[in-house]
Every structure is written in C-alpha cells, then in structure tokens.
Amino acid sequence: MYSFFNNVKEKGLQWNAVEAADRNYFADAPYITISDEDTENILSFVNKKEAESVNVMVMNDSLSRETFVFNRGEYDQPAEKVTFNTPKIILPFTDKYPKNRLGLAMWMTDENNPLTARVFVNRTWEMLFGVGLVETVEDFGVQGSLPTHPKLLDWLAKDFMEHDWDIKYLIKKIMLSATYQQTSVASKAQKKADPENKLLGRAPRFRMTGEMIRDYFLTTSGLLNPEIGGPSVRPYQPAGLWEETNAGGNRGTLTKYIPDTNEKLYRRSLYTFWKRTLPPPGMTIFDAPTRDYCEVRRQKTNTPLQALALQNDVQMLEAARVLAQKTLLNNKDSEELVKTIFKRILLRTPKEKELEVLKKYHNETLMKYSSSIEDAEKLIAQGEYKQLETDPVKTAALMLTAQVIYNLDETITKE
Amino acid sequence: MDRTNSIRGLDYLIFGLTVFLIFCSIFESQLQLPNLVAWLGRWHPLVLHFPIVLLLIAIFLGLTGKNIPYVLLTAATLSALITAVTGFMLGIEASSKGDLLQWHQWLGTAVALLSVLWYWIFTSVAKRPILQKIIQVFLLITVIFAGHYGGMVTHGEDFLAIPNKKNKKIEIPENPLIYSHIVQPILDDKCVSCHNPNKKKGELLLTDFLALQEGGENGVIIDKTNLNNSELLNRLHLPLKDEDHMPPEGKPQLNEDELIIIERWVALGASDTLQLNQLSNNDILVPIINKLKNPKKKKSWADLPEVDDETIEKLNSDYINITRIASKSNALNVLVFSPPTYSDSLFMLLQPISKNTVQLDASELPLSEIAINIIAQFKNLEWLELDKTPITDVEVEKLKPLTKLEILKVYNTAITDKSIAVIENFHNLKSLFVTETKITKTRLDEFKKTNPDVVVEDGIDKEIEEFFTQKDTATVEEK
C-alpha cells in the first residue's frame, strides 16, 4: 500500500526549521497554488478572497521509486522489493485500475469494495448515535466487534452507493428514521433489558465533542459566523500558552498566539487553527485527539477541567452575555425572559419545576446585582462582541441564568 | 495378517534394540562409550516424554476395552526402547550412581522390556487378552515409578514432597560455626540440587565438608595455596551469561550477602571449625551473620483481618483516600486531607478499618484529643504522619499502644522532651522526624545514642544550611 505514496523525489535533509520556513523543502513542494482561474471553474468550492493565492496541500507524484519492505522496520535495511497492491481478500487490485493513487481511489470507491461504503456509513451512524453499528468503527477486522445490525449496515451502505455517495442524503435518511427520533428517556425495564442500548430501543445520550459544544454555544447565542471555507482562524485562547513552551526568542514560526478579532472569533470550531505541538486547550480538554495518531473513535470523558472550561472560558461567558443582551432587547415582557433563553438553548419548553428553579435564581441574582452595579458591569465585560444597550444589572442576572442553563448536562449532551 | 516389509523391518528394529538394551544392562560396568554415543545420551530428557504419553494412552485404551491402534503401540514400544537406551548412555556419563538413579535405571529398563513383551503378544496370532491386561497393569505401575524416580534425580529428592518451609530453616546458634551453620545451608539451598550423590554434576559433591575438599572433575575447588583464586569463587563470579557461571542461568542465584559469606569464608581459610566469636569485630562477616541470626520479622500483613473492597470504597471520600498497600494485601494506607469543615468525627468513620491501617497521614489537620484517641486504637500502624498538627506531649503519650511504629513524623509540633520518653518505647522505630519541635538538643542526642539504629531527622545540617543561605548561586555571580 505504501508504494502508492512513495513517489516523491527526496532531496535529503539539509535545513533547519528557520530555513524551512523560508520555503526550502526537503522534497518537492507538497502543495499547489490555487489561482483565481481555478476557483472560478473547477474548484468553485474553495473559499478564496480574490487575487489572493492559496496553497493547498497536494502530494506531487514526481517519479516512481522502488519500495522495499524494511527488515524489522529498520530504515537502512531494505529487504524484499514490493510494488503497488492491495489486500486481495478485500478486493484484488486488477488491471482495470491505473497503477497510481488515482487507481487506489478508484479501487476504494469501487462498488465491489466491501469496506468503504460500510465504513463510512458506520462512522456517520456513530456520529449521530454515539456508537456505531460496528462498535469498533476503526476496526472491521477480526479484532473488531461484530455489527449489531448487519443487515441494516449492508442496506445503508448499498443505498448510500446507489445515491451517488451523497452524504447529505445519508444523514437525512438516518435522521428521519423512527429509530433516530425516539426519546432518550430510559425506563427501568429498558435499562435492565438492554443497558447498553444495543437494540436501539431508545435514543442514546452522549456528550458532544469539543467542537460541537463550542459551535452549540455560538449558535444558540447568535454569535456564530456561518461562513464556509477559507483559512484557519485563531479564536480565544488563554494568553501565554505558546510563549511559555516555545524554544525562546523568535525561533520557528508559531511562537506567539495572537487571537483574531471580530467575526473571525466566531467561526465554527472546524476552522480553529491547530498547532500540533500545542493544540487548542479548549478542544483537548474535551477529548479532541492530539493528531499524533489516527484516532477514529474519541473518548467521552467527564472531568473537572471540562466543568471549569464550560464555566470560565471567555467564549462560553461571552455566549451567555450576548444571549442575555439579545433576549433583553427583543423581549419587553420580563416574565418571559427566562423561558425564552431556556427554549433558545435547550430547544424545549421548561417543565414547571425547572422554570420555578430558574426564575427564583434569576430574581435572586437580580436582587444581588442591583445592590452592586459595579460587579454587574465587571461581569458583563466578557468577550469582544459589542456591548448591546441593556441595563447591566438585568444583563448580569440573565447572563448568569443563561450560564446555569449552559452548564447543564443536558446542554452538552446529545439526547 | 498381510504385513508389508516395512512393518517387518520395524519388528527387527524392535528386536535389535531389545537385545542391545539387555546387553547394556548386563555389561553396564564394563562399557566405554565413544563421545558421540555419549552425546546421544543427552537426548534422554527429550525423548522420555514420548513413551510416557504413548504408553499411558495405549494402556488406557487397553484397560477400557477399546481397540489399540497398531501404530500407537509400535511407536510406544520403540520410543520406550530408545528412551531406555539413551538413558543408559546418559547414566554411563554419571560417575557414580546414587540409589535413586539405580532404581530409575532398572524401572526404565523394565518399562522398555514390558512394552516389548506386550508388543510381541499383541502382534502374535494368539492374542491372550488376559495376559495383555496383566502386562498393562504392570506397565502402568512401572511407568509411574520410573517417571517418579527420574523426576527425583533431576529435581531433587524432595521435589514432590509437600513444601514445608519451616523445617528447612535452621536455627543459628548464638556462636555459630561459620561452615556448618552458615556456609553449608547456603550450599544446600543453592548448589546441592545438582551436586548431590544422585546427580553429581561435574563429579562434584557439595553435600559435606569432606566432599567439598575433594573437588570435582576439574580438581579441587578450594585452592589452599591461593584461596582467592579458588575455582568455587571463580565460578560464582563469572558473568551470568557465561556458560561456566554457577549456579547456571535459570537456577536460583546467590544473593549479595551469600556471595560475601562464601568469599570471606574461603579467604579465611575455608575451615570447618571457625566460629563467629573468632572473627574480629570489624570483619565484614559479622554484621551479615548477625542479620542472619535475627532475621527481620517479615511484615506480617498476612495476619491482618480481611477487608473487602466495598468497605474501602464506602469510606473513601473527597478528603479521605484509602488504598491497599498492594492489590492483594489487607494492609491499608490512609491519607486524610483537610476538608473545609473539619471535625474529629471524621476519624470515627475509619474505625471499621482500624486494624488494617498500617500507614496513616493525618498531617496538617487540626487534630484534637478525640482524633488521637481513635488513632491510638490503630494498633497495626507502622507509618504515622502527625506533622503540622496541634498535638502536644499529652497526645503523644496516648499513642503509646502503637508499638509497631516504624516511621513517625511529628515535625512542626509543640512536643517536648517528654514525648521522647514515649517514643523510646517504640522498639520498631526506624525513622523519626522532629524538625521544629520543642525537643532539646541534649535530650535528642541522648536518644540518638541509645537508639543508634533509628534515623533521626531534626533539621538540615547547620553547616549545609549555611552554605545554602550564604552562597545563593543566583546572586553570587553578580557581585
């Protein structure tokens, strides 16, 4: 398999990090530059400002090299010579495929390839249900688990291929199903009969990923910038993290973290800039992989650091503040305030008991802050988003009420 | 019966081997074997497993009235013969044979001959089922005994005996003979399993003093003219990977103390009359032997009452951390951290595990009398940390019952000389930490003198501390 990718002319290592930054590469430059012409025609999905050139990572097959199996993995002990091939047991790599990476792509998406569609469908299922039909989404081999619903997996995969590998179609298909739309409330009997919900008798409950949680806060507070594509952005990050661990001085290119401003702060987490030696902590705290290893299935831990991040990350506080201010502006009826933000965040009407707790809390905080306007002003000074014209005391009280709701288990849980 | 030539060939082979075996057992003492044949003998431990298994299967089939496949019995008989023959060859290598080996040899031969007999009847026209059964029963018995004796030859006579450690420990008298009370037990423990009358590897016996003087096939092992160059020591000191290292790799090795004992004993003339009181007081052997005389009482956590995981789990809380010292042990380590609202009742919770707690860290807690009273009931405590607590002499007095204490940390407290009197009664004490207390230097020095084994830590050495505070490297250069 490696043969497919072993086609780059290597010039050998001679530069250090600083020189590499000056674009001296050890091999063919691993990117293409996209011009305006490209984006107008074939690459129309690339979000590129006009007259700006964008480098996109692409490997250049500059020459064909011989590939060897290394004896016990030692780089200086080439043994058997090998060439392009794939495991026959999956699907033989016959002559109908060109002997290059295009061929590999064709092989992978061949409708007779038993894995690709199933694996993809399974991963989509896992994203929506928390657990894949094959629980070990990364492993369909002998060490992996068996599908709980093999026929469903087969059918979904086949259906997916028949509909032109249309991901949107697939997700719609799953989400519109009765299984997906069940309630996640587990009765005692259900818990006893099927504690792990293998039979899908109820909808699952699982904590969302770090990216989802941040996006959720942004969306519900109305902060989200829905722009698609474009270069990475640098949202809020506790100051000094990069500076403390770099090599000192100005060595290397990523020594100082300077957060972006304005709407770039509120892009989806997908676009967050990723420094591999020090990933954004807001993501890793919520189990985002470090990207050292390929990690298909994320852990879903529950730690005190997560509680702290949800309570005190500027991004989260700002979301609560902005939501409070926007609600205050749009709602003259103060009775409805709490109900409105509850609905906004949790997308359901609060139960009477819940409303009672929240209203009581809201009133108490109102009282507290009306006696200390200064504190209220300090509290609502969170984030860069412009302050809307609202009364600081009311804002502070509603902001904290929103904070309470944002910190509920239900908010960060998909159910 | 239509039997092919090859099968006939097998018959001849069995016959030939049988004759050879009988010849061997009769003329054994006169045999001189070439090296190559002797080498064949080395295969005995490998091949011997075949006849045991094959014969037992065949006997089992026979006795339960099932058909015995011809091939099975042939293979069994052949392997029995080969085993017996190689056994002889191996036996010839052994210089003198102990009882065990003799017995093993005869029984092994009997096994081989009996199986040949069985094979002969089995393949003959008249099958004689009754006779076969009788042979089978005899064979079964001989196989078991031959195997058993063989096992004893290789692994030592008491290999199959139920281990009985207590009997093995020899009491060391007040003034022991270095050889018989100290050295020989080491040899018994680590060497004799190979160098005994039954095995006598390298023609060397290490079972008694005389044998030791005699040496083995390479001559004497204790060189009286050049004691430090004795073969005995050389072998012990070779690197473990060396083929000639003793005991061989894989066998229990001598520990550091044992090595020193043997080395020193040889250096002192390898005498069998030397006694402990004849050694000079600073002889390296003295402390080692004293240690052997009073073996440290092994931590007897095994005697602690059972404590189940559920109890531990229930008592564990945000401020109390209870863990087993080791996963299968009933000894517990208890750490108490200061909760925002502390009260001594916290210690009451711990009463169910009072006997199991061997380590307790209650430092930095605002302990009062009640807590100390409870702690005093933790009779098995070996490690107690009470530093930075408001305890005084009164509380220390209450800790008197904790006689098993080995480590006591009471620094940063208000205790005075009075407490030392209590502490002196902790006879198992190893370390005592009394920095920043009101104990006077004179009293502490006195304690140190009477308890030389106890490590007393009463602050950083003044001279060193001065060096640190005077020569602050961070600032010294700038001057």
Partner: protein, 486 residues
C-alpha cells in the same frame, strides 16, 4: 444473481467469523479476566476509585515522583561524569575504535575532525560516597550522599524531539501516553482535589528547544490522565478563575442551581452519567480552592525561601517550581514533572552552562534537603536528568574557553534520590573518553521499568489495549535495575 451469491455465501461467512470471534473472546476472557477494567468514570460512584484493579502489584517504595527534567540535554562531562583523560588527550581526534560508527547529527556530520575537549570546569569529590561533581553544581555536591548517580544511561534518539518524547512516553514517535499518565492510570490520585499529574515549566537563558504538550499528553489513555500544566500566572490551571464580578458565594449559588436542575433531569432520563457530571462540577469547585492554595509560595517561612534561593520568589523560575513541586508532593500529587529549558549547548558551553547550572543547582539540592527533613524522601522519588548526553569532542571552533558539544545518545548521566533508591552510590561507568558505556548500561526502557517498580508496578503488567494491541510504557523491553533499589 449478485444477491443470490450473497445469500449463499453469507451464512458461511457469518458462521466462520462468528466462530472466530467467539473463540477469541473465549480465550481472551480467560487470559484477561484479571485485566478487564470497567470504565470507572461511568460507574456509579464517580471518581471514588481511580486506580486500576490489581495495582500496585506489590508494596511500593515510592508513592510519588518528582521529575526534574533538564530539557536540551545538559553535558555529562561538565556535570557528573569526570573524565581526566580528556584533559591529557585534549585536541586529539576521537579514535575510530571508540566512535565505532556512531551516527552524527546534521550539525556535526560536516565536521572532518572530532577533537577531544576536556571540561572547562573543575571537579571535586564530595561526601562519604566520594562522588565526583563539577564546580557548576556545588550545592548538588553537598548532598551527593543522598543521591544515586547513574552514569550509564543511553538512548536511541539523537535529536531533541524524538529523544525527549522517548524519555517521556517510551516511544520516539509521539502519541503514546506519557510516564505521568501511565502512573495516574495505574495508581489513580492520592488527593481527589488535585490532578494526579502536573507539569511545571521554566526556561533558562541557554540555547533551548521547544516543549510540546504531547510530552504530557495521555495519548490513548483517558484524557483525565493527561498532565495538567500549572502556570505561574494568575490562572495556574486553565480556566480556573471565575470572571470578575462573580464572588465565591455567587459561584456556589450558581452551581447549586445547576445541580438541582441536573438532578431533575436525572430523574427524568435515568442516565447516571448526569450524577457523574454533578460530581465533576463539585470537584472543579474544590479545585478552585485547593490549587491556588497549594501554589501560594508566600505561605513558606523565610528559612525555606533562603534554602531554595531568593529566585524562588519569582514565579515561573526553576527555583519557584522546585518549591512548588514539594508543596504539590505534600498534597498528594502522584507525578510532578518539571521542565527546565535551555541546556542545548552547541556553542559557548562553559558560559551558558554556568548560567543554566546556577538556575537549577541550589533549588534541586534544596528540594532534596527539604524533602529529607520532612521525611518525604522515604516515599518520594526525585529524578534529575536530560534526554541524552553530549559529545566528548568539540563542535565548531576548538577553543577550550568557549566550545560546544553536540548530541550524544550513547552515554549520559542522571541522578535519582529517595523513594526506594539507594543513596550515595554511583551506578554504571563510561570509558575513559566518556563516550561509551562500559559497565551496567541503563536503557530508557530499563529506567522506566525501574521507576514503575519503585511505584509498586510491574511494568510488564500495566497495559492498555488500543487499536488491537496491548501497549505498555516499556513496550516490549525493559529490565528493572535491581542494583540501585534498596
């Protein structure tokens, strides 16, 4: 037709797979019965039992580790490995018989000569043990009788990133859990109000290399085992401080409401994960108290400040971190990892190293003394060392007053103290050139195995199954260095 084929094939396929999977499950569960570990955090009692079942396997000598990592690789030849031969043969080329094909870094592979360079600093023997220590480290010399010097460390990597990753995770390629994470995974935390694995960083003036959060990452282990970077500013743990305008009692009030709503939802959904969430919020609340308290050096008396050196009052210095480390150890943190950057002396070694040594010498030694007087050396293991050694020949211009040394993986020195390690000994030996190990080599894997042994863990048995294979810190190697254990 296609469908038909499938049908006729399917039963067979499923049967065979079924059979094999059953088989592997059967054998697996037999063999692994003792290793099967329930997901502790989703269990009913959130956070109460945090260690792995069956660990520790035996009574540990050390309950916690303080690792004083000298990032960049301090030269062994100017610190603890005294080589008078280098002085005698100064300037001579390194004999090929000694170099023996050792690969070089890109920085000296262009050099055509490898002139031997003696230490610019003098050595003295200290204490009863007579250990040689250079004049760069007078304070460490004073406490030499407490230390166990290992002069025969060797590693496989020749550059910082892989070497330091190897040291911290047992693999040159990043992605494996770090040592501290393994300990946290195996032993859990002693104090539930603090993380069990913390990291403190500082930087000297010397040439330094970057640090990466992967060095304290939990790899494929649960992220609760990842090292928590304690920072010197007002937010020692990320997101620890509440926003301005929200008092402690306001926070309590807020959390009380969060939990009462969570409880309502728990009754509705019946998902026990919610209970665990409530517990984590409580622990976070307690951490907001306990962490700043532990970090508050101002509580230390004058004579302790003096012991560590005045530097320790400046947050973010090595001395401050060393003192911090003791406070964390006292409060039951399992693994305290310090990094001091700036030991990469490719040039200007005598001057730069003097500065680096000044940063760490007194504080490291003070830490040992301080732990000792508190009886904490009984159960705390301290390690001091870098990721590899430095060459005995000169890098760049040959100038005995101002030279450099390149990376050298074949031999280097570290020291350990406390926690079941024999004090006052020197283990292992290098040849007279300080280039190769000639006695008792200690590989990184052996070092890891030894640390784990001190903590009561059999390194071969603490494993984690990930992507079809069982991983351990020592991977497939490692022997416990019994000779240095008490």
């Amino acid at each position: 037709m296609d469908d038909d084929n499938k049908k006729s094939e399917d039963p067979l396929k499923i049967n065979r797979r079924h059979f094999f999977s059953q088989l592997s499950v059967g054998i697996g569960s037999l063999a692994l019965g003792s290793l099967l570990i329930p997901d502790l955090f989703s269990s009913k009692d959130p956070g109460l039992i945090t260690h792995q079942l069956g660990i520790p396997q035996f009574a540990p000598k050390a309950k916690r580790i303080i690792y004083l990592f000298q990032a960049g690789a301090p030269s062994q030849l100017e610190s603890f490995d005294y080589k008078p031969t280098l002085k005698k043969r100064m300037g001579e080329d390194l004999p090929d018989s000694i170099r023996n094909g050792q690969r070089l870094t890109g920085m000296t592979s262009g050099q055509d000569k490898f002139p031997l360079m003696p230490s610019a600093v003098n050595f003295k023997q200290y204490g009863k043990s007579g250990a040689w220590v250079s004049d760069f480290f007078p304070h460490i010399g004073k406490i030499a009788d407490e230390l166990c010097f290992v002069k025969s460390m060797h590693t496989e990597a020749i550059n910082h990133d892989p070497a330091i990753t190897f040291f911290q995770t047992g693999s040159q390629q990043s992605g494996r859990p770090s040592m501290g994470s393994w300990m946290s995974y195996g032993l859990g935390s002693e104090n539930k109000n603090l993380p069990s694995f913390v990291v403190l960083t500082s930087r000297g003036k010397g040439n330094s290399q970057g640090l990466y959060s992967k060095l304290w990452s939990s790899g494929f282990l649960d992220s609760k085992h990842q090292g928590v970077l304690l920072r010197s500013g007002k937010d020692p743990v990320l997101y620890l401080n509440d926003p301005d305008g929200l008092s402690r009692s306001d926070k309590r009030h807020l959390l009380d409401n969060v939990s009462s709503l969570n409880k309502i939802h728990h009754v509705d959904t019946g998902d026990d994960e919610i209970e665990s969430r409530i517990a984590q919020y409580e622990m976070a609340y307690r951490m907001q108290m306990s962490v700043p308290d532990v970090m508050d050096i101002k509580q230390e008396p004058e004579h302790i400040i003096k012991l560590y050196g005045e530097d320790c009052q400046v947050p973010g210095t090595y001395a401050a971190n060393a003192l911090q480390a003791r406070r964390l150890a006292e409060n039951g943190v399992r693994f305290i990892q310090l990094y001091h950057q700036g030991w990469d002396q490719h040039g200007g070694l005598p001057h730069e190293m003097a500065g680096q040594a000044k940063d760490v010498d007194q504080a490291s030694a003070a830490l040992i003394l301080d732990l000792k007087q508190r009886g904490m050396l009984e159960d705390t293991l301290v390690v001091w060392g870098g990721e590899f050694g430095r060459t005995n020949y000169c890098q760049g211009n040959f100038d005995p007053k101002n030279y450099g040394r390149d990376h050298h993986p074949r031999a280097f020195s570290i020291w350990m103290a406390g926690g079941g390690i024999k004090p006052g000994i020197t283990y292992g030996k290098t040849d007279e050139f300080g280039y190769n190990v000639v006695e008792n080599p200690v590989h990184i894997n052996d070092f890891h195995a030894t640390l784990m042994h001190a903590m009561g863990i059999n390194h071969e048995e603490l494993t984690y199954k990930y992507q079809g294979r069982r991983f351990r810190l020592t991977d497939v190697a490692g022997d416990v260095v019994k000779d240095i254990l008490t």
